[in-house]
Assembly symmetry: C2
Homo-oligomer: 316 residues x 2
């Protein structure tokens, strides 16, 4: 019985299990981890990838929008890097096709790390221990921004969160979810959330309009996908975000305006589905969403190799 329940849930439920990553290049992962935490990829030497995607806080910064170089407040909420490999494209508006294409962007974004790719490469190349790490990862100590991005992406692929209670239930453990969580999941499917939020990441598979049946009120001027396609009908289309670990990734939506998960759920029901949820209904869905919090990656801080006299100095 258990086996057939298991097989049927895994096959038939629209949400899929997250498994730990396998088959990665471990030398490249180690290099990528160093680069992920290295603030010397920023002009100030004070901002690393981890500043805005803190692996101690669900891969986000828990701010409405991020703080970049010289305390510049960014235009949009920082999405989680946990399970980001599952996204069909990267960024809210999908302008990067994958993790590697994304990873060099923040380095020379003047509102984020505010560096140049050339200075970032010079920085890394000036440090002998990095040359050794590049040689182990790529077979050559030649360093390029492309390899920097590839190594960071390889590290990001390790950032999965397996063994959420929901996944244990998918694999056949009936007791892994409470009755309230099961009821919340049923509601999530019945009222249509699942149409947009499905797959292993419970999202990340398509663009959808924010405010499908009713406009979403926001002060954020971002037009979403339309900024890329220049097609007015793409206005306010965003990549549907993952709901994995969503209890950790507040505040919610691209404008980071909503702090309460229950409120975010009620807004979704309203603007995407034209439906007013009772407090009891939204609380059940929240309970289900909390079952999507998985094991957070166990990341030991690297000991970054010191700079040399050749390393460009920080500019605050």
């Amino acid at each position: 019985l258990t086996l057939s329940v298991q097989a049927s849930r895994i096959d038939q439920e629209p949400i899929k299990v997250i498994e730990p990553a396998t088959g990665l290049n471990t030398a490249m992962v180690e290099l990528g981890k160093n680069l992920w935490f290295d603030p010397r990829l920023s002009k100030s030497n004070a901002i690393s990838c981890n500043s805005c995607h803190n692996l101690a806080t669900g891969g986000v910064d828990n701010l409405p929008s991020s703080i970049g170089h010289q305390w510049t407040i960014g235009p949009i909420n920082s999405p989680t890097v946990l399970n980001a490999e599952y996204n069909f494209v990267q960024f809210w508006n999908g302008r990067a096709k994958d993790l590697k294409a994304q990873a060099s962007g923040p380095i020379d974004n003047p509102k984020e790390m505010a560096f140049t790719h050339q200075l970032a490469v010079e920085t890394v190349a000036s440090i002998p221990a990095y040359q050794t790490m590049f040689t182990k990862a790529f077979g050559s100590k030649d360093i390029s921004i492309d390899k920097v991005a590839q190594a960071i992406a390889e590290f990001e692929k390790t950032l999965r969160t397996p063994n959420a209670n929901f996944d244990l239930w998918l694999k056949g453990d009936d007791k892994a979810l409470t009755a309230k969580q099961k009821a919340g999941y049923q509601l999530f499917k019945d009222i249509g959330c699942i149409a947009c939020h499905s797959g292993p990441a419970v999202g990340g598979q398509m663009y959808q309009k924010m405010g499908l049946v009713k406009p979403y009120k926001t002060n954020n001027p971002d037009t979403g996908r339309a900024a890329i396609t220049n097609n007015p009908s793409d206005k306010h289309f965003f990549k549907v975000p993952t709901l994995r670990n969503v209890e950790l990734t507040y505040p919610y939506f691209h404008d980071g305006a909503i702090w309460s998960l229950q409120e975010a759920v009620e807004i979704m029901a309203d603007v995407q589905l034209g439906r007013t949820l009772s407090k009891d209904e939204s609380a059940k869905i929240v309970a289900f969403l909390q079952s999507l919090t998985g094991e957070q990656p166990k990341v030991t801080l690297p000991s970054l190799p010191p700079s040399t006299y050749k390393t460009p100095q920080p500019k605050l």
Copy 2:
């Protein structure tokens, strides 16, 4: 023979071995580690202890002076927290008597974390998982700024760096140092550096005048110890810093003006001892100082518990 060499070096050398910390309250260490990495102890929710004392970079930020709330540039270089427990007092001017007395200072320093102690305590108290951690560490879920400081201090006590090559040599392994390093250590003792830099931390045991025999030229207006004692004869007296891991803690001196360790050594010889070192001599001392880099603490990032509706929201 080895045994007696060992015994005599350990007894007779003025620099002492660093051993890993023992006898700590492990529940308090774990709580302290969470607090150490928690940016919610700052007004912006973007700055943690680790922002300025990055455990990936020798317990410092490698900036001339730190970046605090709203990109405020601080007045003085951030010292390492590695082995800081050995300091006879904390801060450059010794205004805190120990790690616990120090730890609540940055939280309500307007140039650093810019929070208030009351809001910091409210923040921590609003998070159920912290209440559990406090109960494990202190036997009660009552939270105070004093306990916050005590827990952070307990974590900081774990931040020792044992097994530097110099320590292996002290323990009797003749091959742990190169001939150049041994010559550098001999010079360090012969010319008088050891008078101020000794003990397990190779410093941290006394105040001394910066510019003892010749003024040190700096744009930094800090008067050191005199700001605390109001005694003009204490002008430019600073706590002698540790030289453990000094190859990682550039830039050097309280003003963070000197990026090169060799230059820092030559300046010390000049302004503290009235002595001009040859390049060969300063290079030997640098080689010795590099033997003081120990094993960096292996710190796994905590998974910080999420905020609740009671948690004060960030103010950027």
